[in-house]
Chain length 173, copies 4
DNA sequence: TATGAATGAGTATTCATTCAT
DNA sequence: GATGAATGAATACTCATTCAT
């Protein structure tokens, strides 16, 4: 991965995440990256190829975000880390996540099973804590977390801080 | 509103909702509507004008959906109707809602205050039911409802049915 | 067929015939025709669509060229007209024929059966004139005529005039 | 001439002969040859340089094909060898000849005088055999041979076999 | 000798939009 | 109200070619 290749990807990420895939032209990407338009196609074949490359990165980040939760053995801590995780995302990763959520609407990239490992772990935690329907609780919490993340990405971290305390209290953490 | 005008709008709705605004060309709309491309511009000035016209319709539907909840006086029923509402949407309105949610990601049209009347009513209901932080509960429930709607629009009503019962039970309705 | 449509076709014919299909850009065609590049695609869908439209015209000319020969009842005259035909082509049709011969090398357009009606008529004439293998003689003459046409298209009518007399004498016409 | 140089030339020959010069990209050639695109330009300066290099080879083959005829002293044998020559071309040389004929239509390379030595020899043979207009007969036979070659290159040797016998008989060989 | 990164001009094609009828 | 011809700017993508390594 050369420096220019990197620059292309990061420029594309920023534009795709904020303007959308279709609303972003390869010309814009090239200009922002400071490279010739042709180079994009040399390295990524397609505009779609660019998105694919970004998607791989996004999936990587997603997996990395999971690991801490997956390896936690204290059920209460599992819930706590999960609830806090949207607030821990470094600002420079916001575009990654924005893209991730935008892609949910593009059927080619929509994969609801991606979150399954997280849901499974949460279900395990709720079971340990003797919740009645742990599976359902897990799904619900996961959805709430996603919802909060979307709000953070759109309105900023601060606007959602109250939620964190509210949820922590709700789950007695 | 002539018949052709109507046909243009409904074709545009279907395409915008499923392919996205940018990914839909006026040519496609004209073909689907069975009219000349020029007519679109006669009636709606430009492509954005089409979206604006649809947006008005969407807002109408949104408001109509609210009224039943707004005028309900039994707090428990307010929550019940809210939770059940995503499952009551008739199938022919799905495109309307899909467009509504897609527009959330197209900055120009995102208006988070649109849901405020619903949130206020929910907050009132939670207060009546002596919840500790009714405002917070209201926002959370509203977000969960949105999340469920998104899931319904993407995966169908059936996939989310379990949530309804779960939430109704959770809120003791 | 509007005037501009006509202009596009004639410009394309001239360029395709002299520069070749691949060597001609739609930009060149548009400029020569004095229209916007977009119009080419509105009317002919593709660059290939342009070639297809020309091909139809070429086939028409070819058929028209045959009729006089096909309806001739005197076998000697059939041969005479055939031999003279390459020299009768009006200069403004040269591009048509140049394209016709160029297309022979593009498999999509190569159709060796196109000449069959002519060959059949020649075979009939040679039979009437008691040639031993009329079918073979017909094919040979047809090939010679094609060869002479190619030479005319490349080097001009005058360069090949001697052939006409030579062939007329050879076949005792 | 290194191995890679050779591979580039043979790949270019195959592509130019079958797809055409303009329709073939240096990228395709490089890929088929298994070398980097840059190497083509190191060795042949530019795309045209490649064609020039091939042209030299084609001219060599052409010359080689002539020698047997040129040095023949029996006039009947001269005609016989000439008529049989298109059928003697080894299959692996077909691309060479295809390119040769395609170039005829690309003006820069068309050189009608290339065949003159053959025509002269044929004229000599026809004179020896007391034909009335030997020069004319020579040109005609040469053109027929070319036409047959084109047909062979496009439709295969077998499709044209009948011609050989027919011509041999016609010239009483 | 050979590579592969990089370019800038060019390619076919699409787009939203205008306008005469 | 409605059409369809026409446009010019933009689009994704390709091309032959250069150059540092």
């Amino acid at each position: 991965m050369t420096e220019k290749q990197d620059k292309i990807l990061s420029s594309a990420l920023e534009l795709f995440a904020n303007e959308g895939f279709n609303a972003t032209s390869t010309n814009q990407i090239a200009k922002k990256a400071g490279v010739s338009e042709g180079l994009i196609f040399k390295h990524f074949k397609n505009k779609k190829g660019l998105l694919d490359a970004l998607y791989v990165q996004v999936e990587g980040k997603l997996g990395a975000g999971f690991t801490q939760i997956i390896f936690e053995t204290d059920p209460k801590k599992v819930l706590k880390i999960t609830i806090e995780s949207p607030f821990m995302i470094p600002h420079e990763d916001y575009d990654f996540w924005r893209l991730q959520f935008k892609l949910k609407w593009e059927s080619d990239y929509y994969n609801p099973e991606k979150m399954q490992p997280l849901i499974d772990k949460l279900a395990w935690a709720f079971e340990e804590l003797n919740y009645e329907t742990p599976e359902m609780e897990a799904k619900l919490l996961e959805q709430m977390i996603e919802t909060i993340m979307v709000a953070i990405l759109r309105q900023g971290k601060e606007s959602q801080l109250a939620y964190k305390d509210f949820l922590l209290k709700k789950y007695e953490l």
